[in-house]
């Protein structure tokens, strides 16, 4: 395996060098880097231009100039990167700019990727389980539509309906009664389509879906919750128990007493910790994120311990599930922390823009504490995340549906059924795990591609990540900047390609890397 990685590394290094040569030359010939400076014919302007020519070595033809760039880039192999300076960004070294841009790109794509994977796999697998149902057809149709959407067009729509209109709604949450009724009936229909089953069970699903929607929407509009949202202990309890229900539904189901009690115990613990967590995180704002991490670990450990000591024979799997649930139940606590700051936050930002911003990655000059800063960044991430999410979501849905369908037809699934396992166990223990193998490699490849940034999404939402760096570099023909971008994205693609191969061979023992 070491040999495999080593050989791949050397081969791709050569490929990278050749590719970088072409990108360098093409970029250099794509325009005039001095276009703006040429307009300025004052002595100061000419001096500026001469300075630029000198520091960028512009009198050397690009083909030769590449070889002055290459040694600095090769230095990256021994930890001494020198990718030149960027004129467009005020003569800062490119490596520094790349560091900053990588940070904000990672911030953006991590959330989008995680959400896309969870949602895509969930929807894809449920459609596979209900193959040829109305739900399946509808989802398949819409994944095709999403697949055909141009991101930049969706982004403009998002700015309008995801920000401007939504901000109006947040300020004035009036939903007409007729709309509540229509939405409730619609949701009831959706819930029964997803859950499926016999007619009686479907009717129950409709009732639950409709009543649930009605309660939530009614609560929103009558208490005007969005104008000053809060979570409080009731909210923490509700969300924790809802999370417990979701984790149960996705794993062992509600029929067994032991896991149900364990999950309820974890949710109860989370509820009980409402005030302590709040107090801890409010007081220790200096290292807020460290404390947050600590709390997550404690929650997960408590869940794990509950699963271990009360789990009986299946303690191994129950303790894992309970730990996951424990870590998840931090979410309501976090939002509790954010929503407490809602009124102050609205006072600090320019309220005419609304709470959900359409541009940039943070509010400049926001004088808030740690959690308000985090909340601010999170709100700025909403729109670009949704835009990025849509495309990957459609892809993952198609992939996981196909993957699970393939696995469900395998002989070992038939064997599992034949030996009398419940359908739930067949799916969670046998089918799901095997269906995830190809998904894991696809995820690795996708993330490799995403590190290069989402050029259009970042451009539209004014997110200063890798993609924005590239777009700027190409517009003003800043070769060093473009090359820096290319190097990072190229290396990421290469690395994650190897990672995908290794994941595949690790998960599927039939595949050996050689």
């Amino acid at each position: 395996m070491f040999l495999f990685v080593a050989r791949r590394t050397v081969a791709t290094l050569m490929v990278l060098i050749v590719a970088s040569f072409f990108v360098y030359v093409l970029t250099a010939y794509s325009g005039d880097p001095l276009q703006e400076l040429r307009l300025d014919t004052t002595p100061a302007g000419i001096a500026k231009m001469n300075h630029a020519i000198e520091v960028l070595n512009l009198n050397t033809p690009p083909v030769l100039r590449y070889f002055t760039w290459l040694p600095g880039a090769m230095g990256c192999l021994i930890g001494q990167c020198d990718l030149g300076i960027s004129l467009a960004k005020g003569e800062f070294p490119v490596t520094m700019l790349l560091g900053q841009a990588m940070g904000s790109t990672l911030q953006l794509i991590t959330l989008a990727s995680v959400l896309a994977i969870i949602l895509g796999v969930a929807v894809g697998m449920t459609t596979a389980l209900r193959q040829y149902s109305g739900y399946d057809y509808t989802v398949t149709f819409f994944t095709f539509v999403i697949y055909s959407l141009p991101v930049f067009w969706v982004a403009v729509l998002l700015k309008q309906y995801g920000a401007v209109e939504l901000n109006k709604f947040i300020e004035n949450p009036d939903i007409p009664i007729w709309l509540i009724i229509v939405l409730s009936i619609f949701m009831g229909f959706v819930v029964q389509a997803v859950l499926g089953g016999e007619r009686r069970q479907r009717l129950i699903s409709v009732a639950f879906g409709a009543v649930g929607t009605m309660v939530v929407l009614g609560f929103l509009t009558f208490t005007r919750w969005t104008t000053s949202p809060s979570i409080g202990i009731v909210g923490v309890a509700l969300i924790s128990f809802a999370l417990a229900a979701i984790v149960l539904a996705a794993s062992v189901g509600f029929s067994q007493k032991v896991p149900t009690m364990i999950m309820l115990g974890v949710a109860a613990f989370s509820t009980a910790m409402w005030y302590p967590v709040w107090y801890l995180l409010e007081v220790n704002q200096e290292q807020g994120f460290l404390w947050l991490l600590g709390v997550i670990i404690v929650f997960a450990l408590v869940g794990w311990a509950l699963g271990w000591f009360f789990g009986g024979e299946d303690r191994k799997s129950y303790s894992k599930l309970a730990a996951i649930l424990g870590a998840l139940t931090i979410l309501p606590h976090l939002f509790n922390l954010f929503f407490v700051r809602w009124d102050n936050y609205k006072r600090l930002i320019q309220i005419k823009n609304g709470v959900i911003p359409t541009f940039g990655s943070e509010t400049a000059g926001l004088n808030g504490d740690t959690w308000m800063g985090a909340f601010d960044v999170l709100l700025h991430m909403v729109l670009p995340t949704v835009a990025l999410l849509l495309v990957s979501f459609a892809g993952y849905t198609r992939y996981s549906r196909a993957s699970l369908l393939e696995v469900m037809n395998q002989d070992y699934v038939r064997t599992a059924r034949a030996k009398g396992l419940s359908e739930r166990k067949v799916i969670t223990r046998h089918a799901f795990r095997n269906a995830m193998i190809p998904i894991a490699t696809i995820v690795a490849l996708d993330i490799g591609g995403l590190i290069g940034g989402a050029v259009i999404t970042e451009d539209i939402f004014g997110w200063s990540g890798m993609g924005a760096l590239f777009a700027l570099g190409l517009r003003v023909v800043d070769v060093n900047l473009v090359m820096g971008f290319f190097l990072v994205s190229g290396v990421a693609i290469v690395i994650f390609n190897v990672v995908a191969d290794l994941i595949y061979s690790a998960l599927d023992p039939r595949i050996r890397v050689s």
Binding site: Y132, V145, Y147, P150, V164, G395, G490
Partner: protein, 361 residues
């Protein structure tokens, strides 16, 4: 089981295809995919509409020139007018102050009175041109290089696959942007450039097909009977991998239209005075709140084209892959199942729309 004319046993699947040529079998299967059939008609209508309505320009440099006889602006090159009364470049008076749609201008007008319908149609021409040229060019290159690599293996394979690696390592959007800036703003150039760099994915697939097919008995038989390498490649192996090729070409084409519009949106693709759908959206994105018609139509037409191509690809995949028999999107399958209940045993997995084809942009 029943018997055919020669007295052999036939299965139900075979009975459905008895007496039909390969093409007829595929067409028969394709017709079952209702959305794909509808998509073909929609796409054909759109193509005819785009190319007849505002006329076409053959040759020229994409710039506007003053006509010597009429002293009016007209596109450079051989310009044939269409049946639509407005064109995409003439500045005129606005029917309404804000340029809202009227009977005269059904899609509205922009701030300097140009007809949006004409602009969208011209943009569609460019997008369709790019789509088809990229599809054709990259398929041709990919198939030839992939076949050579898979058939001859050894150093031919190494050289071709390393070149493919070099191109694959650069994200398509980046490559398109750099190339688009280098060669200038025409749709034709952009299409050729994109076509020249979009082939590696397909070449890899075709190579894989060849690597497995060349070990089969029918290839051995052809070799023994003295067939030339060219004959074996084009007459024996290639027809067997036609399904993979056709399906991936459609995927490439739907990706091509999204990449072209994205590049033009960023200002790296087709540049003014010529028109592209992406460029129109970029130009008017800030006007969305006040004048949404500037924004809705170009976007909807991009989706229409991409969606049609994707559905046709899905239909072709069903038609070419005899292992699977799906009822997705067939009339009976859809309506019977709309309210749940119908359970059909899955025959087989499906080959899926590749996310790798779609850039994360």
């Amino acid at each position: 089981m029943s018997l055919d004319a020669q007295g052999r046993e036939t299965t139900i699947e075979q009975e459905a295809t008895i007496g039909l040529s390969q093409g007829q079998v595929i067409w028969k299967r394709f017709k079952k995919h209702k959305l794909a059939v509808i998509s073909i008609f929609v796409l054909a209508t759109t193509i005819i509409l785009a190319f007849t309505s505002v006329g076409i320009v053959i040759g020229g440099n994409g710039q506007l020139v003053v006509d010597k006889e009429t002293l009016l602006l007209r596109p450079d090159g051989w310009y044939i007018k269409g049946w639509w009364q407005w064109d995409w470049f003439t500045v005129g008076a606005k029917d309404l102050v804000n340029g809202a749609p009227t009977w005269n201008h059904p899609f509205g007008q922009d701030d300097i009175g140009r007809d949006i319908f004409a602009r969208v149609m011209r943009g569609m021409q460019q997008s369709l041109l790019v789509t088809f040229i990229v599809g054709f060019l990259s398929t041709a290159i990919g198939v030839v290089l992939g076949s050579l690599a898979g058939y001859y293996r050894k150093w031919t394979d190494s050289v071709i696959m390393r070149v493919a690696d070099i191109i694959l390592i650069v994200p398509v959007l980046v490559l398109g942007a750099v190339l688009g800036r280098s060669v200038g703003g025409g749709a034709l150039f952009l299409a050729i450039m994109l076509g020249l760099v979009a082939w590696p994915g397909l070449a890899r697939l075709v190579r894989g097909e060849f690597l497995s097919l060349r070990e089969r008995e029918f290839v051995d038989a052809a070799v023994v009977s003295g067939a030339s390498a060219r004959h074996i490649i084009f007459k024996h192996i290639l027809p067997n991998s036609i399904g993979v090729i056709v399906v991936n070409t459609t995927l490439l084409m739907s990706a091509a239209i999204l990449i072209e519009t994205s590049l033009s949106f960023l200002g790296f693709g087709i540049t003014p005075p010529d028109v592209s759908l992406g460029q129109i959206i970029n130009e008017y994105q800030t006007a969305f709140q006040t004048r949404p018609w500037l924004f809705w139509y170009p976007g909807l037409f991009i989706i229409l084209i991409a969606l049609c191509i994707n559905f046709i690809g899905d239909g072709l995949r069903d038609a070419f892959d005899p292992r699977q028999r799906r009822d997705d999107f067939t009339k009976e399958g859809f309506f019977k199942s709309l309210f749940g209940g119908k359970k059909i045993e899955a025959d087989h997995d499906e080959v899926i729309v590749g996310t790798t084809q779609r850039e994360n942009i």
